[in-house]
Amino acid sequence: MGPELRAAKSGMHGDVSGDELNSVMTALEPDQLISAKEKYHFPRRQLTGGETIVFWALRVYLVFMLGVVVFQLWTAAAPR
């Protein structure tokens, strides 16, 4: 750990100097800071009609196939 970071870590809950701040800011990209991640979020995108259909189709596929799994388990467990 570099001297600046060591100082910053040992100085928890206190202010840090410009050099110490620079050390963290140099090592990390701006959007890697936790405060930036908590403050900024990617905006929601609108799904097109085609995309919505594909989303629903795969959801129906999953539910149907899970039904098939339950059916297989039920037939396997049923007394012969």
Partner: protein, 463 residues
């Protein structure tokens, strides 16, 4: 990007005069990144190797983590049922599919510094986000149950009582978390994950016919008959390499490790190396059980301990013991990685702190979700009379069935210019990804046909 009000106040450790807030997590990550920057500035072979050493981790962990208890049992069952043939190259193909899929998470994590669940909620909203979370949580919980089944069965071979085996595994999980440091945690779990290669000496003890292996790799023959059992094994082998938790884990781990777009190449190498190691371990497990096929020994519904006992006449006491230890290790490493993927996803969605760099007091919810989920799964395994074989079957099948919807989110995110910029998927990557989706849906439909109308399957097989 849009500004939002944080759900929870940032964990202030150091508030600078300029108003920028730095957390404990930032400082730890900055330390790791400092090492990378210093090493990258140097030239020569050794610094390149050191850079690779610093940047590997998520890819190897995710691939060897997916070589988990049910996966190894699935490979063992494949070798015992079909011997050397079609499934040898098929398993290699499934790891190539895993590479294609996981490479997308490398780019996504490095370009956005965000976890997979967070991006799904941000870009597609809570309606679709919760669907993906429910898929993940149910799948992860069921998979964790099977990991504890593997731990119980593996240690059971040595006479360890089930409660001791399961409780001991929970303690190991908790100890790994006590480092409160992503880097240390990653190195510890990497070392444990390498033990997955114990199946290689076990396979050598079984004296495999390498000529037959080579022929199978080139010709995909002999082909198995198209029966319900073959389709189940096919699905189980796909589910053994490509599952939803892997997407969530690797992307979140890359964000937690602090990889950036400059590290994508190394992230790809990490993923490819992980896939190579995992496929070697998978093939070795398959070859280790081929003697059961050659001697026509039935192995249906075998658990790990029974495989080890059945193999003992062919690979000796030490070989059988190593096989059982390998199954234990596979379950143990997967318990750690899968429960971590759940905790990452929960933290990202609930906007709670989520990092392995967090001290306990700052990451209570993260560590609590991780441990409670694992403890609940462990408890279920200890209930007397619970149909463990059925649960293993369900888990392998559900993993394959849940992949196409999960891959759709990944495909759309990795092609999203707004968040990926220049790192959107190139056309060749999209073609490969669509190929994987088609194979997964095709396998799922084949499974559906085999269950609903086995006669139709016989007709398909006859053509």
């Amino acid at each position: 990007m849009q500004e939002t009000t944080p759900a929870a106040k940032p964990r202030v450790i150091v508030a600078t005069q300029s108003g920028i807030v730095i957390t404990h997590e930032d400082i730890d990550r900055a330390h790791d990144r400092e090492q990378v920057s210093v090493t990258r500035a140097r030239h020569g072979f050794l610094p390149r190797m050191r850079l690779f050493w610093l940047l590997i981790g998520p890819g190897i962990l995710v691939m060897l983590g997916e070589n988990d208890g049910p996966s190894m049992l699935s490979y063992a069952a494949t070798g015992a049922k079909f011997g050397v043939g079609f499934f040898v190259p098929f398993v290699v193909l499934t790891f190539l599919m895993a590479c294609v899929v996981q490479e997308m998470t490398v780019r996504l994590g490095a370009a956005t510094h965000r976890g997979h669940a967070e991006l799904i909620f941000d870009r597609f909203g809570p309606f679709w986000g919760w669907f993906s979370m429910v898929d993940l949580m149910i799948g992860n919980f069921l998979t964790l149950v099977t990991e504890f089944i593997a731990i119980r069965a593996g240690l059971g071979y040595f006479g360890v009582p089930p409660a001791v085996a399961v409780f001991g595994a929970l303690i190991v999980l908790a100890v790994a978390l006590m480092t409160h440091r992503y880097w240390t945690w990653e190195r510890l779990i990497l070392a444990a994950a390498m033990f997955n290669l114990v199946f290689v000496p076990v396979a050598l003890l079984a004296h495999p016919n390498f000529g037959a292996v080579g022929r199978a790799l080139l010709t995909w023959k002999p082909l198995p008959g198209l029966t319900q059992e073959t389709v189940l094994i096919l699905l189980a082998n796909i589910g053994a390499t490509v599952t939803p938790w892997m997407l969530f884990f690797q992307q979140s781990a890359i964000a937690d490790k602090g990889l950036t777009t400059r590290d994508i190449r190394m992230g790809r190498l990490d993923t490819a190396l992980g896939a190579a190691l995992a496929s070697i371990a998978a093939l070795a497990t398959m070859l280790a059980t081929v003697p059961l096929f050659l001697h026509h020994m039935p192995s249906a519904n075998f658990e790990a301990g029974e495989f080890a006992q059945a193999l003992q006449p062919f690979i000796g006491h030490w070989g059988a013991a190593l096989f059982a230890l390998g199954i234990f290790e596979a379950g143990m490493v997967a318990v750690v990685t899968i429960s971590t993927s759940s905790a990452y996803a929960f933290g990202e969605v609930a906007r709670r702190p989520h990092s392995l760099n967090l001290p306990l007091r700052e990451g209570k919810s993260f560590y609590l979700v991780l441990l409670v989920e694992a403890a609940a799964a462990a408890g279920l395994v200890l209930i007397p009379g619970i149909p463990l074989v059925y649960i293993v079957l369900i888990v392998n099948v559900i993993a394959v069935l849940a992949m196409p919807p999960a891959l759709l989110f990944l495909y759309m995110l990795v092609n999203d210019h707004e968040i990926m910029g220049e790192f959107v998927s190139p056309p060749w990557a999209n073609v490969l990804a669509l190929g994987v989706v088609i194979i997964l849906i095709g396998a799922g439909l084949l499974y559906g046909i085999s269950v609903i109308s086995p006669n139709a399957l016989a007709l398909i097989g006859a053509r």
